[in-house]
Symmetry: C2
Amino acid sequence: MKRRKCGKLYGIGIGPGDPKLLTLKAKEIIDQVDIIFSPKGDEDKTSLARSIIEATTSVPKEFVELPFPMTRNKKVLKVYWQKAAKRIAEEVAKGKQGAFITLGDPFIYSTYIYLLRTLRQDFPNIEVETIPGISAFNAAAARAQVPLVQGDERLAILPVTKDLRGLRETFEAFDTVILMKVGSKLDKVMALLAELDLLKHSVLVSRLGQPGERMIHDLSSLNQFKREGYLSVIIVKNPKRGTLS
Amino acid sequence: MKRRKCGKLYGIGIGPGDPKLLTLKAKEIIDQVDIIFSPKGDEDKTSLARSIIEATTSVPKEFVELPFPMTRNKKVLKVYWQKAAKRIAEEVAKGKQGAFITLGDPFIYSTYIYLLRTLRQDFPNIEVETIPGISAFNAAAARAQVPLVQGDERLAILPVTKDLRGLRETFEAFDTVILMKVGSKLDKVMALLAELDLLKHSVLVSRLGQPGERMIHDLSSLNQFKREGYLSVIIVKNPKRGTLS
C-alpha cells in the first residue's frame, strides 16, 4: 500500500528587507518546499517579500501571491483571509510542503497572524510551524547603533494611533519606546516629542535595507521630510530613566 | 608604499540557541573574520555561544573568551569591560577583522551594549558594525505558536525586578507583556498572575532550543517546577485588551 506524503505549512519571517538577514533555517526551508505563498497588498506592484527571497534562495516551482486589500474593514479582510486559508489548505491537502513568507517576524504586526487564526478555525488539522525572523525594530536599532535595553530597563513597542492614545504615559514609564506605523501621524508625534523634550533622543529609520534608506539621529533636525513617516520606525530613549545617554 | 589593512569589529547576534537561527549575514561574517570574541560568565563550563556557532560556521583561527563575572557590582564589571575592550582594540589595531558574538539580539539585554559603550569611550576610532539577531522572545513566541501583537496592540518587554515594580500597571496598559530574567522571582510572578486572573493566558518557555526545552501553555498547571524560572521567558496575553484570545 502506498502511503500519502503529509503536507505542512511553514510560516516564515524573512526579516526586514536585507536578504542576508534571512536565517539559515528560513533559507533551508524555502529551498526545500514545493510551493511558496506571499501576501500581496493593493499597491504592491512587485512583491517585496518575493524579491527578498529570490536574492538568496532557489527559485521554487510554484509561487502564489495571495491578495490582501489595504483596508481596516474587518469584514472585508475576513473574506480574503478565508480565501487565502482555503487556497493554502487545498495545496497542503495534496501532500505539498508550503511556506507562507512574511516580512520581519511573523508574530509582530503581520498578516500571518490573521491567516494562522483562520487556518486553525477552518482547517484545524493542517500542521503549521512558525519560524521567527529579524524584526524591523531590531534591525533599525542595529543600523542606527542605538542599544535598546540593558539591565533593568523596560522596552515598549506600539503602533501610533490617530489620537496618540497612551503615548505620553508610555514615554514616562519606559526607558525605550519604539513607534511603529508612524505614517501620516509623524507631525503629531514630532509635536509630542518636542513638548516632552525628547526630539534629540529620538532616531528615525525609514525604508530600512532598501534603496532610499534614511536615518535621522536627532529629530529636531527633521523638518521638511513629512513623507519619511511612511515605512519608518522611531526609537525614543528617555534620558530621565535610561542609563545609556 | 605598503598600506596597512584596516581592522574592524562586528557585534553579532547569533540568535536564541538553535544554530539554524543564525542569519546568513552572521554566518558569512563569522566565516570570514580572523578572530572571534565571546563573553564567558563564571559558571559557563563550556561556552554556549561557541557551541552554537561551531555547529554551522567554519572553525576560526583564533577564538578568545572574554571573562565577565556574574555580579551586579558596576565598579567590578567596569574593570572587566575595560579589559575586554582593550583586548579587542589591540587585535583590531593589528588590522584584524573580529566578531564579538552574543546570544539573541545584541541590543536587547546583552553584554555587548556595555562593551560597545566602553569601546566608544576608550577607543573611539575603531570601526564597529552591529548585526541584529533573533531575540529569545521572538523565538519563544514562534515555538509556542503565540502571536505577539497585531493591529493597534501594544507590546511591553521587561525584566522582572525583585519587588515586581510597575508590573501590575504594565499588565493593564499592554495587550502582551514579555517577562525576561524571571529566575528566582517565578513564585512572586505566579502569585501576581493568579491575582489578576492571567495564569491561563500565560506561556512559559525555558531552555529554548536547548536540551531540556520546556513549554507550559497554561501556568495554572505549573506547580512543582520552581526551577523553571532559570533561562525562561514568560509571555502574558491580556484577554481584556487583546483581540486574539
